[in-house]
Every structure is written in structure tokens, then in C-alpha cells.
């Protein structure tokens, strides 16, 4: 059986798409890939997708296939809203009923991460999520740490990203991780 049929993952992706759109994001394929990477990292890999450094930063082939299946089953479609922009992913009206009602467990477990990420990446297009997700990738990769080494690494794999943009991305990712850390701590821990 095709593992990309995993309906619980499809439901969680659907939730992420809905949240990104709700927050005003254009919601093309690339942004969903990078947002899913943030969810994967922030959730301690509970999303269950494998990411490698590839097109526009971290990329999951399994996630791409799962979105392909969702498109084939018409849970989502690619909507052309404006001739000068890439297509947006639009959930079909009955998709939440089919997927989230029946298979919504994982989406529910990841709700906080999904909402947080959708909010943080709301104003990002392809170029911005490419920078941020690549910065997160190197931030999470041992032993590459420290601002300078991460900037160098980003520039090494993505020569088209300027030094200033790479530095901004690293700073922004540090801030996002800090914010997540603050809100994801158990309440009593925060009080202490």
C-alpha cells in the first residue's frame, strides 16, 4: 500500500494549508513545504516527514508525494489567481469534512505548532521561506552553530542569497525559536 495515503498526515497538511491561507499567505507549494519543515522541527519530528536540503531549502519528497495524492484525490487543487504569480493551493470545500473529521488526530496534536508557524510565515513568499528554512536547517544541524558559520553555510549552498539576507534569516530564525521555546514550555516552568 502506498504510504503517502496516510490520511492522518493528509489531514494535518490540510490544516496547515487552511491556517496559512487564513493568515493571508499566498500558499504556494514551496511555502507549504517550508512551513511543514518548521512544524516538523518545532514538534520534535511528530509530523513524520523526512527532509533533505534541496529545492529552495529543506524539502520532503514524501510530503511532495502526499500533496500529489491529495491533489489526485481532489482534496486540494492548484488555483490560478493571478497571471503573474504561481498557483495557490486551495482546499476543496468538502475536504475538511472528509479528512479532518475522520482522520484529524495528528492535526489536532500539531495544532499549536501549525498555528504558530502559519502565523510566523504568513507574510513570506518563495524567496523569504527559502532563506528562513535554510537558516533553520543549519541551525538544527550539528555542529554548525554560531551566527557566522550558519551564514557561511547558507551562502555556500545557496549562492544567490546575499550575505545581508542570510544574516537576517539567521537572526529571524533565532527569534522564532526563542518565541516558540517561551510559549511551548509547560506553564509551571514558565512561572518559575
Amino acid at each position: 500500500m502506498n504510504t503517502t495515503l496516510a490520511f492522518d498526515k493528509q489531514a494535518a497538511i490540510l490544516r496547515l494549508i487552511l491556517q496559512l491561507r487564513e493568515n493571508g499567505n499566498w500558499c504556494g507549494k514551496t511555502v507549504v513545504q517550508k512551513a511543514a519543515y518548521f512544524v516538523e522541527i518545532l514538534s520534535g519530528h511528530r509530523f513524520g516527514f523526512d527532509f533533505v536540503l534541496y529545492k529552495h531549502g529543506p524539502y520532503s519528497f514524501d510530503l511532495a508525494d502526499t500533496m500529489g495524492v491529495m491533489n489526485s484525490l481532489e482534496y486540494i487543487k492548484f488555483e490560478v489567481s493571478h497571471p503573474q504569480y504561481g498557483p495557490r493551493i486551495k482546499p476543496l470545500d468538502d475536504a475538511p469534512d472528509i479528512l479532518l473529521k475522520k482522520y484529524g488526530g495528528l492535526a489536532e496534536q500539531l495544532e499549536r505548532e501549525i498555528n504558530f508557524v502559519a502565523n510566523k510565515l504568513a507574510d513570506c513568499g518563495i524567496a523569504a521561506v527559502e532563506r528562513l528554512s535554510t537558516a533553520l536547517f543549519f541551525t538544527r544541524q550539528e555542529p554548525i552553530q554560531g551566527t557566522e558559520s550558519r551564514i557561511l553555510k547558507i551562502r555556500e549552498v545557496k549562492p544567490h542569497i546575499s550575505e545581508v539576507d542570510a544574516a537576517n534569516a539567521v537572526a529571524q530564525v533565532d527569534k522564532i525559536l526563542e518565541e516558540w521555546s517561551a510559549i511551548s514550555q509547560p506553564k509551571e516552568h514558565q512561572a518559575a
Binding site: L5, V52, F61, N71, E74, V80
Partner: protein, 450 residues
């Protein structure tokens, strides 16, 4: 040093051009084995002409890969975004080496296929092994290392692995941006030359017209193209009214394999060819039935019920050995795999019992499983096979360069690509002895008229 170029006749590309190093690889044992691996498994039992092998397909992929490389790397075909993202692409030494590696990788890309190609590989390889991982083992074997060492310039096997398998199948390797791009030439879902060759070749040999498209035009118009833009945050009003969108930002972003706008109709034809070939040839119900019997035969016949994963054992096993064993088993009731060998050779294959519509697959997936379970209980697991396929690929989206230099998504420009039909199949096959009774059972128990 200029190498002598030989020409090999081919029904799809007329001539395939081969240099001395490539000929050395073609003459190697792993490549010659591909003469004995059917490209379309047992499809020749449905389409008698479909007896072609992985050997000629691999030659075809090499020919197309060379042409694709030339199209995207020619100096006057490169725009600023391509030069900035792939700084090596204008370096003549780099181009000479990587063109060579790309063509060798195209030759090697299918070396790991077990007998009868895809027919049985998912269930019969041990967990974690695939034809791609075996391809890698072969490329990294001593026999191949020795070949690569003798080439001029000397070729690094890891480079061949990267381009033959692509990022998806070689996750442990670090790819440069250029290597990602070149691997996409072979493995790409939208514009990869592996797909181009197999659609053209399979259609030709199956004797169907569906797989044809203008691949000459497609290759001529291949380019490195930046992705289309996506706007920054939109207000709710903008969302709802789709009005007043700002001009797309001109931020630099990583380009990838795309097309000049002039090639868009060829890409539409490629995609339609893919759709028709899937619907008419690759998922022909009788072909799937034979695949099922072949898989069951191999499960019984292979030691431990699994395909070999060592390079030597793999190279020894071709369609010929399996076919010989099948003939022996068909005539001997006590031989392993007898029932399925007999079904294949006597054409007593399973038949279609019921097809499920894409709408049912979409919203009643559980019901399909329930129906299958109830049939298994009534008629026995060995008499049934549920086959499901939902297309995980999204091949219609790639960047297109317009005449004004801007880039656009293919689906924005092409209504044909935008409405590319979905591929979702689910059907149950059954032992023909039970078909009539099972049809009645479906009607009575599930209110389904097959």
C-alpha cells in the same frame, strides 16, 4: 582528446551517439544484463509488441540527457538567475566533465532493476532495498569502479550515483545546486528524460499512439528558469476580491529546469501522453493481473521469498532464468509457484471483478477495504487481489520563461496543464472460477453491480 563517436540505430531516436568510454560501460556485465530485463514486465502478453528491454531504454535516456544538457548549458541560453545560482555552468572544464557524468548516469540509472522491472519489486525486496539502492551498489562495485577509473577524464562514481538516482534516492549524499539540477534532467517528474524516453518507447512497442509527443521541440526549449513569484501577505479583501495585487517582487530565488514558452504545447502533449499511457497501458487490468501472478510465483520460487540484494546474485538473475523456472513449475504440480506459473503460461489469469470510481476512492476509501475484506472471507485471500494507485506526482507544474523574460508557472499559462486529469485507480481482480458468484455477492451484500 577527441573520442571516436559510434552510432547505434534506434527506432525512437534514429541514432544514438556513443563515445569510447560510454561503449566501455555499455559492454560491461551490468549493462549487458539489461538486454534481458523487459521494460514493461509481462505486458507483451497483452500487447505482443511490448518485448523491448531496459537496454535500449537506457541508451535512449543517455541520448536525450546529452541533448537536454546542451540545451540548458549553452551560453546564450543562460540568463542572469541561472548564472548566479549555478556559477560553474559557464566553465568549459566543468561542462565537459558533467556532460559525461550525466550521460553515464543515464546509462546506469536502471541497472538495479530486478527481473521484469517494476512488476514485483515492492513486495519482493527486503525492507530498505529498492532498484535504486541496487543501482547504487552496482555503480559503486569494484567492476564499475575499475571502468570509471579508466575513463578520460576519470569519473567519480559518487557523481554518477548522484545524477542517476537524484536527491530523493540518495539522501545521505550532499548535492551541490548544479548536481540537483543535472539529476533533475534524468529523474525530474515534469521534464525528466527518463520519462520522455519510456513514454515514447513504450507506446511505440505497445503499438499505441497515446505516448507520442514532440520531444524534439521539448528538448530544444528546455532552459534553466527561476520560479514564478509569490506575493507578500495579502489582506483579506485582496484574498476575496483577488484585486490590487502588488507587482511580483524581484527577489532572487533558485531557478530550476523549465521551458521557454514556445515549448508549452509539447509539454502538454507529454503530460497527456503520460495520462493515456497510465490509463491504457500501465494499468491495463490484464497486465496488472499478470504482475500479480508473477509476484506470487517469485515469492514461492525465490529462496526465502525475496529478491537477491548482493550485486553478483542480482547480476545473475534475469527474466530468462525466471521464465525458465516458470515453465518448469507450470508443468510440475509439486514445484514452487506452480499455480501462478500455470496461470501465466496458460493464460488463466485473474479477471476484473469490480472497478471503483475516483469519487469512491476519494470519499469512501474505508468502504473499498471493507468490501475487499468481505470478499476475502467469502472466496479466500488467494483468489483475490485489490490494486490501488493514486498518482503521487504533480508533473504539470514547472517554470516557463515568457518572451518578455519573466517567469510564470506552466499551469498559469496552460489551461491544458491546469486541467490535467487525475489518475486514481482501484479495482479488484478475482480468480475467474469465482467471478460469477462474486458478482452476485457484491450485488446482494454491497449493492454494487460490477
Amino acid at each position: 582528446m577527441k573520442q571516436h563517436i559510434k552510432e547505434i540505430r534506434d527506432p525512437i531516436h534514429n541514432f544514438i551517439h556513443v563515445d569510447g568510454d560510454e561503449m566501455m560501460l555499455i559492454n560491461s556485465r551490468p549493462f549487458q544484463r539489461l538486454r534481458h530485463i523487459h521494460q514493461l514486465a509481462m505486458s507483451y502478453l497483452v500487447y505482443p509488441g511490448a518485448t523491448h528491454k531496459r537496454f535500449e531504454h537506457s541508451l535512449g535516456v543517455m541520448e536525450l540527457a546529452g541533448k537536454a544538457f546542451d540545451a540548458i548549458s549553452q551560453d546564450d541560453h543562460l540568463d542572469e538567475s541561472a548564472r548566479s545560482a549555478f556559477p560553474n555552468i559557464t566553465n568549459p572544464q566543468w561542462k565537459m566533465y558533467w556532460r559525461k557524468v550525466l550521460r553515464l548516469a543515464a546509462l546506469c540509472h536502471d541497472m538495479g532493476h530486478p527481473p521484469f522491472s517494476h512488476a514485483a519489486e515492492k513486495e519482493l525486496f527486503p525492507t530498505g532495498i529498492s532498484h535504486e539502492s541496487l543501482t547504487r551498489r552496482i555503480i559503486e562495485s569494484d567492476e564499475m569502479l575499475d571502468l570509471f577509473k579508466r575513463m578520460v577524464p576519470r569519473v567519480q562514481p559518487v557523481d554518477v550515483v548522484k545524477l542517476a538516482l537524484g536527491r530523493k534516492e540518495a539522501k545521505d549524499l550532499v548535492f551541490s545546486e548544479e548536481e540537483n539540477l543535472l539529476a533533475e534532467i534524468i529523474t525530474g517528474d515534469s521534464l525528466g528524460v527518463d520519462r520522455m524516453d519510456y513514454l515514447l518507447r513504450d507506446a511505440y512497442h505497445a503499438g499505441v499512439a497515446y505516448g507520442k509527443f514532440d520531444h524534439f521541440r521539448l528538448l530544444e526549449t528546455l532552459r534553466i528558469v527561476p520560479p514564478p513569484s509569490e506575493p507578500e501577505i495579502l489582506s483579506k479583501v485582496q484574498h476575496e476580491l483577488k484585486l490590487n495585487l502588488p507587482e511580483p517582487p524581484c527577489e532572487p530565488s533558485e531557478p530550476s529546469l523549465g521551458l521557454l514558452i514556445g515549448g508549452i504545447h509539447s509539454s502538454e502533449a507529454l503530460l497527456l501522453a503520460r495520462y493515456f499511457m497510465y490509463a491504457q497501458v500501465y494499468f491495463h487490468r490484464v497486465r496488472i493481473a499478470y504482475n500479480h501472478h508473477l509476484k506470487c510465483f517469485l515469492k514461492d520460487w525465490l529462496p526465502g521469498g525475496l529478491l537477491p540484494t548482493g550485486v553478483e546474485d542480482h547480476l545473475r538473475l534475469t527474466d530468462n532464468e525466471v521464465h525458465t523456472a516458470m515453465r518448469e513449475s507450470a508443468g510440475n504440480k509439486d514445484a514452487p509457484g506452480h499455480i501462478h506459473a500455470k496461470r501465466i503460461l496458460s493464460r488463466e489469469h485473474f479477471k476484473r471483478l469490480v472497478d471503483f470510481s475516483p469519487a469512491t476512492i476519494r470519499s469512501e476509501s474505508d468502504r473499498i477495504e471493507d468490501i475487499y475484506e468481505s470478499l476475502k472471507q467469502e472466496f479466500g485471500e488467494d483468489n483475490l487481489w485489490l490494486h490501488k494507485f493514486i498518482d503521487p506526482k504533480d508533473p504539470q507544474q514547472f517554470p516557463v520563461r515568457l518572451k518578455n523574460g519573466r517567469s510564470e508557472s506552466s499551469v498559469v499559462h496552460s489551461p491544458v496543464l491546469r486541467s490535467y486529469p487525475k489518475l486514481a485507480f482501484a479495482f479488484i481482480l478475482i480468480n475467474p472460477d469465482h467471478r460469477e458468484r462474486a458478482s452476485r455477492f457484491l450485488k446482494e451484500r454491497h449493492d454494487i453491480t460490477p
